[in-house]
């Protein structure tokens, strides 16, 4: 029920995202061909006409919208000979791979750190983990990324400094860590909070009164409920990783969607930017729906329609 409602507002949301990004892009000063400064005015006019840029703004909006509805985001204005769809098709698998791996790393590591901190509440390990988490949240990834590169790439010479190298695992390690770090920190704090709350609840006392071993109590009676606040954060976490990847892909020179997006924005490549925005918007909405399903898996009240 909940999921159906979310589905019903997904399309209007996407429409608003597309519209807003269209007009915001156009409101920004400058144009796509500014770099090619010494073009003759007549030639420039021809190019603009070829991309419909000479038409009134509302008509352009209409053309863009109808094409987007049929799944075509038009040609790139800067990467000549490439359609936006092609660029996204090249970049998305790479970005998705990085994002997904970063998400998995963040969930596993963040979850584990949170559990350990909660079980050692107010102990030295708890204090260390929480101090690290505070730093992880405070420092943005465009700062951690260069530090990671300096240390592991240039000083220890353990890992490549940048580049994709056809997806070689060594090339992915540093970008994934840089993307995951802030999320690890947030997830660790959420998991710790969830654990601490559940640990002092009455049903945990009942489980202990049954003479169950503490490991059994944690795994069977605590974890599932303690993880519920995490599920609500899955959507924001993915959004955070996706926006983080815009910068990270640039820093590590990775051929993902993020790099196209940043370059597209700098060059006023309107179709490219809007294509990426709409695709990312759709992805984030879809992933939020997935996190609803995860809720149902963890909480029987949701599954059985009580809430």
């Amino acid at each position: 029920m909940f999921t159906l409602r979310r589905l019903a507002i997904a399309l209007p949301t996407l429409f608003i995202i597309a519209t807003a990004s269209f007009f915001l892009m156009r409101a920004a000063p400058g144009g796509p061909f500014d770099a090619e400064a010494d073009l003759e005015p007549a030639v420039l006019e021809n190019i603009r006409a070829a991309y419909d840029l000479d038409k009134p703004l509302l008509e352009q909006y209409w053309i863009y919208l109808t094409n987007a509805l049929s799944g075509d985001f038009g040609p790139s204005l800067v990467y000549k000979d490439f359609g936006v769809n092609e660029l996204i098709a090249i970049g998305l698998p790479i970005s998705a791979k990085l994002g997904l791996l970063a998400m998995i790393v963040a969930l596993l590591l963040g979850g584990l750190c949170g559990i350990i901190a909660a079980l050692r509440q107010n102990g030295i390990i708890d204090h260390i983990i929480m101090a690290l988490a505070m730093t992880g949240i405070a420092i943005p990834s465009f700062v951690t990324a260069p530090i990671l590169v300096l240390f592991f790439g240039l000083y220890l010479k353990l890992l490549p400094v940048a580049g994709w190298n056809d997806g070689a695992p060594a090339n992915m390690v540093l970008p994934i860590i840089a993307l995951a770090l802030p999320q690890i920190a947030i997830i660790a704090r959420l998991m710790r909070g969830g654990m601490l709350e559940v640990l002092q609840s009455n049903f945990v006392r009942t489980a202990r009164a049954k003479g169950l071993r503490e490991s059994h109590v944690i795994l069977r009676h605590v974890m599932q409920t303690a993880a519920i606040p995490l599920v609500g954060y899955l959507g924001p976490a993915l959004a955070g990783i996706m926006t983080g990847s815009l910068v990270i892909e640039l820093i590590f020179n990775l051929p993902g969607v993020g790099r196209y997006f940043v370059q597209g924005a700098l060059n006023r490549d309107y179709p490219l930017v809007m294509g990426v925005v709409v695709i990312y918007g759709a992805l984030i909405i879809a992933l939020n729906l997935l996190s609803d399903l995860a809720y149902a898996a963890l909480d029987p009240r949701v599954r059985r329609g009580y809430r």
């Binding site: 509440q121 002092q200 609840s201 009455n202 049903f203 006392r205 009942t206 489980a207 202990r208 009164a209 049954k210 003479g211 169950l212 071993r213 503490e214 059994h216 069977r220 009676h221 599932q224 409920t225 963890l298 909480d299 029987p300 009240r301 059985r304 009580y306």
Partner: protein, 324 residues
């Protein structure tokens, strides 16, 4: 003489609150005999629950317990976790007041019952499930086979409390501690649960501790009663004797404020005037002095200890009633 099942001596519980130590339970001593039903009665906050949570090693993190709790001669107070785990849920069962928050929300009833049987009775999952089903029948849950697959939130309050009792009884324990098992329920369901406990008590060898703030609950059920006030034991004796001749002024007050059939319900019952003591500032003398008609200087200076009057009755009061 037969050894008691539980022998509690000088049990005290305190909680750290800021830089203060709150004395929730002070020097409680009593025995629980074989196949006996002992009532623990006192106002809310008088230390009833913490006494038994301490005995089972279930205090909150800020709680500390001192003294001695012997289960059949074995010291269990502050015992290592693995020793406690052999007894809890196995020889010592406990039923908690609020069965909704007391059952794990994400686990089916059958699983919550079966894991105890697997843990303590060495049963296979299939045997444990059969035992769980049998327990649901014993506590009179309708459609027991279906209820095995239910989640706690799918049961009514009374049903959940039955499940709690089934949980505590699944390993046929020597001791069942029922902590206000009926307080959260409405009156008709309360009576059903009390009947169920009474039946279980008759048909098993389990000794029962019945914790309640309501003297009426223990009247028909318990052999002996321990009255608690401000974390202290104030009177201990056979149920009939306490009802017919209370020794402690507090017990007498409780009895006077108890509704009986003969009293006209329109008439207000004489409640004990004043408030229960605040454990963060307990007086030096008798904790009840503020509310006691018989209080004198000595009561304000000296804390009365629980002392035996006869071999079956004890009272903690400098000027007890004559008991007639």
């Amino acid at each position: 003489m037969v050894e008691p099942v539980l022998k509690i001596r000088d049990l005290s519980v305190s909680f750290a609150a800021g830089d203060q130590q709150l004395a929730a339970v002070s020097n409680v001593s009593f025995d629980l005999n074989e196949e006996e039903c002992l009532g623990i009665v006192g106002e809310s906050g008088s230390g009833k629950s913490q006494t038994f949570l301490a005995a089972l090693g279930l205090l909150a993190r800020n709680g500390r317990a001192t003294g001695s709790v012997l289960y059949r001669g074995q010291e269990i107070l502050n015992a290592p976790r693995h020793e406690l785990d052999e007894l809890r849920g196995n020889r010592l069962g406990m039923v908690f007041q609020d069965a909704l928050s007391g059952l794990t929300p994400t686990m089916r009833i059958g699983q919550q019952l079966a894991e105890s049987a697997e843990r303590h009775l060495g049963m296979s999952p299939a045997e444990a499930r059969a035992r769980a089903l049998e327990m649901l029948e014993i506590v009179s849950i309708p459609d027991p086979a279906q209820r095995l697959n239910a989640y706690p939130f799918e049961l009514s309050g009374g049903m959940r409390q039955r499940v709690m009792i089934a949980l505590a009884m699944i390993c046929k324990p020597d001791v069942l501690i029922a902590d206000e098992p009926t307080t959260a329920l409405d009156v008709t369901v309360q009576a059903q649960i009390l009947r169920l406990l009474d039946g279980l008590k008759r048909h098993t060898k389990t000794s029962v501790v019945m914790i309640t703030h309501d003297l009426a609950v223990v009247a028909g059920l318990c052999d002996r009663i321990l009255i608690m006030y401000g974390g202290r034991p104030v009177e201990l004796g056979a149920t009939a004797e306490i009802f017919s001749g209370p020794l402690h002024p507090y017990t007498a007050g409780l009895l006077r404020s108890m509704p009986t059939l003969s009293i006209d319900p329109e008439v207000d019952l004489p409640a004990i005037p004043g408030q229960p003591p605040d454990i963060s500032q307990l007086p030096a003398g008798c904790a009840f002095a503020e509310r006691c008609e018989r209080a004198s200087d000595r009561c304000l200076r000296e804390d009365p200890l629980l002392t035996a009057r006869t071999n079956a009755r004890s009272v903690a009061c400098h000027f007890p009633l004559d008991g007639n």
